[in-house]
């Protein structure tokens, strides 16, 4: 089976259409329920072989993909960069060709180099899903963010969403930016100027220097990005303490808003740095809903790329009944 609706690979949201994005979100809906069953398994991908190829450390994304694959009854293999031939100097293209020679169906790849997923997708016949490439994109994270926003607010179009923090180094920010703008949200970014990429305003987003400005703007959602702790050593910020004091998302700052603001975070969180614990654990946080939705969205992506048709997703999940 080949997929006609999404193409062969999912490498990023930049070149997807709004309809393709909506299709994934809509397809995720029936899959949410699978994870609530006592027997969390449907036969949609029975007989498919999927390799999770992780060249970078990951806990949440790798586990989420693995659950999604197993709940769709696929056979999965995990390959981590350490301990594999990759650590012995094998090139990405050789790794790809060797996997291909073992006749697999799909590869989920995470890689520290931007463009690595596209590189792989252009060289092998299997479907390739980008689980994060360098500072480029992390499309399934943005898709689960979109689904979580839609669950909470009932819509995405017209909402004001601000990405807060280290946008420069964030693939989550880039994917969110494309997904949100394509679905009609107003998007802003906010953080220290040292962590804002060059030319970002040309992508149709507002740029704020302070969290207070984003709140005054009337943000409905703050998606708080993880601050990589090594940014301090590389001179982008002076200290974590000052970062928290100036840019941290705290209850005191949120109190300025006349309406409740939905709080999101792609994880893992640095409590007391980019986000205050009281906010992360507060009533308007949907951080754990994001994690739950991650499995459903990844099931939808795997299912659609394998050639499944959206209208059959319901039937697919009933397959074992």
């Amino acid at each position: 089976m080949t997929s006609s609706t999404l193409g062969k690979d999912l490498t990023g949201l930049e070149h997807m259409t709004p309809d393709q994005i909506r299709l994934i979100l809509d397809t995720a809906e029936p899959f949410k329920e699978v994870s609530e069953r006592p027997i969390k398994k449907v036969p949609a991908l029975r007989g498919k072989t999927i390799v999770n190829l992780f060249f970078e450390a990951s806990t949440r994304t790798r586990i989420s993909f693995e659950f999604a694959e197993k709940r769709l009854s696929a056979d999965t293999v995990n390959v981590a960069a350490t301990g594999s031939s990759v650590s012995k100097g094998e090139t990405l293209v050789d790794t790809a060709r060797n996997l291909e020679a073992m006749r697999i169906d799909m590869v989920v790849i995470r890689h520290p180099s931007s463009g690595a997923a596209e590189f792989l997708g252009n060289r092998i016949a299997s479907n390739v899903i980008n689980a994060g490439d360098g500072k480029h994109e992390h499309p399934t994270q943005a898709l689960l963010d979109l689904l979580s926003i839609r669950d909470k607010h009932g819509k995405i179009a017209g909402l004001k969403v601000c990405l807060v923090g280290d946008v420069l180094h964030s693939r989550v920010a880039r994917s969110n930016l494309w997904g949100l703008t394509k679905l009609g949200a107003e998007v802003a970014v906010c953080g220290p100027r040292t962590l804002m990429p060059r030319g970002i305003e040309e992508l149709g987003v507002r740029v704020f220097g302070r969290v207070e400005e984003a709140i005054e703007w009337g943000a409905d959602v703050l998606n708080v990005l993880r601050l990589q702790l090594e940014r301090m050593e590389t001179g982008f910020i002076p200290s974590l303490r000052e970062y928290y004091r100036v840019f941290g998302v705290t209850p005191e700052r949120l109190e300025r808003s006349p309406k409740p603001i939905t709080i999101m975070h792609p994880g893992p969180m640095n409590r007391g740095v980019e986000i205050d614990s009281r906010v992360a654990d507060g009533p308007h946080s949907i951080i754990l809903d994001q994690v739950t939705n991650g499995v459903a969205v990844r099931m939808a992506v795997l299912y659609l790329l394998a050639g499944g048709r959206a209208e059959l997703a319901d039937a697919a999940k009933r397959g074992s009944e």
């Binding site: 293209v93 180099s113 463009g115 992508l203």
Partner: protein, 425 residues
């Protein structure tokens, strides 16, 4: 030998007219109409063709010694001849580095053995190109070096650059600098701008080049030395050079065919054949570089021919090496983009690819002219030939070009070095 019936363009004498060229004993002995061929002379009918001084490239990387699988002096000289070049200058970032008279002599010997385009060595500024101690300029120049450079890397230390400029004055050679502030460029793989932001690739800001251009100009003024600025890529550099030249500072500069024709959008799809240092920049930079070359603010075109094995470029963008080959496409790309577009006349282009670069490095034996009495380094071009770039047909050992498949007009059909044919189509 007689080249009969061509259009002779010799920018060194502002000559552009139909004429025959007579070559005897490796020298040009006459240029004029209706020359009679001496008995037994080789005659080439070049009617409808352009007869010009052979092209001169001040900036190539030939990988010998060290990476002979990517290029050798001989294969580079063969590629040069095919591109209409009769003289090329080889950068010293080989393995080991060309930083002493023996290493310089090796390049001269390999060039002589190849007997194709002349290969002039450039010696290193610092021993091992480590940026610490000056290399022996005097001995290297005696052995045949035509300039000194740590190209591939900038001369980071301002003190070293100052002493290099001062010391090089004694030997009348320029110091060629790769202008890059390493603290701003660190980790960067393409131009810093909208495209790098979208692709999530670390950018190299234009300021990284401009800062070093400004510093080098200041040091050239301080020392009275001749600084040659390699592969200029951005409009800010152009402004600094223009102002320096107006003030009479001894600065010369070069620009590559790719920086004159491509922008950072060529990096879309993570095409590693568009990865070079300095990076491809924006349309406004391309426009400024073209204008500067036309005005003479930038003196010449140089290819920065940088061969790499095919599998090195077959990698993620971050992991691929910088650089593209250029000897076999330089003239055609420049001719198509600058002359066919009406921006340059053909004599203006030949000046910037032959007469001016030969002048900038004061090449031994001359070059860049067809004046009677000068050495017979000649290129004949068919400026109507249409062809498309097929890397598999290159004479270079490497194939890493950003111009694959591009339709071009104009190519060298005959290249002559010291009266000997080294390339003929």
């Amino acid at each position: 030998m007689v080249l009969q019936g061509g259009r002779v363009i010799d920018p060194s004498r502002d000559l552009d007219e139909p004429a025959d060229v007579l070559i005897q004993d490796g020298k040009i002995t006459a240029v004029g109409r209706g020359l009679t061929a001496p008995d037994g002379a080789l005659v080439r009918n070049v009617k409808g063709r352009i007869v010009a001084p052979g092209l001169v490239d001040l900036h190539v990387h030939l990988r010998e010694p060290g990476n002979e699988d990517e290029e050798t002096v001989a294969s580079g000289a063969r590629a040069a001849a095919a591109g209409g070049f009769t003289a090329i200058c080889a950068m010293p970032n080989t393995d080991p580095v060309t930083d002493n008279q023996a290493a310089v002599g090796f390049i001269v010997r390999q060039s002589g053995l190849a007997g194709l385009a002349r290969v002039h060595p450039i010696g290193a500024v610092s021993i091992g190109q480590k940026g610490e101690r000056l290399a022996e300029f005097g001995e290297m120049v005696s052995a045949g070096a035509v300039a000194v450079s740590d190209d591939g890397k900038p001369v980071v230390s301002s003190h070293l650059m100052r002493t290099a400029l001062e010391y090089a004055r004694t030997f009348h050679v320029p110091v060629a600098d790769h202008c890059e502030d390493p603290t701003l460029a660190a980790g960067g793989v393409m131009h810093e701008g909208l495209v790098s932001t979208r692709l999530g690739l670390k950018g190299i800001p234009a300021a990284s080049e401009e800062i070093m251009v400004a510093r080098d100009v200041v040091l050239a003024e301080l020392t009275g030395g001749h600084v040659h600025l390699c592969h200029m890529s951005c409009r800010g550099s152009v402004a600094i050079i223009r102002e320096a030249k107006e003030r009479g500072i001894r600065v010369t500069a070069e620009v590559t065919p790719h920086h004159l024709t491509l922008t950072d959008y060529a990096c879309e799809e993570y095409d590693t054949h568009a990865k070079m240092n300095p990076p491809l920049r924006e349309a406004a930079d391309v426009a400024a570089l073209r204008g500067a070359l036309k005005e003479g603010v930038i003196d010449c075109i140089a290819s920065d021919h940088a061969p790499h094995a095919y599998d090195e470029k077959e990698a993620a963008f971050d992991d691929a090496p910088f650089g593209v080959v250029g000897l076999e496409t330089a003239f055609a790309v420049a001719h198509t983009e600058l002359v066919e577009s009406g921006l340059f006349t053909l004599p203006q282009l030949i000046r910037r690819m032959s007469t001016d670069p030969a002048r900038v490095f004061h090449l031994p034996g001359g070059g860049g002219t067809l004046a009677p009495g000068s050495v017979a380094d000649v290129a004949v071009f068919d400026t109507t030939a249409k062809w498309s770039v097929d890397p598999a047909a290159f004479h270079s050992k490497s194939r890493n070009t950003p111009f694959t498949g591009r339709a071009l007009t104009g190519r060298a059909v005959l290249t002559i070095v010291a009266g000997t044919i080294v390339h003929e189509l």
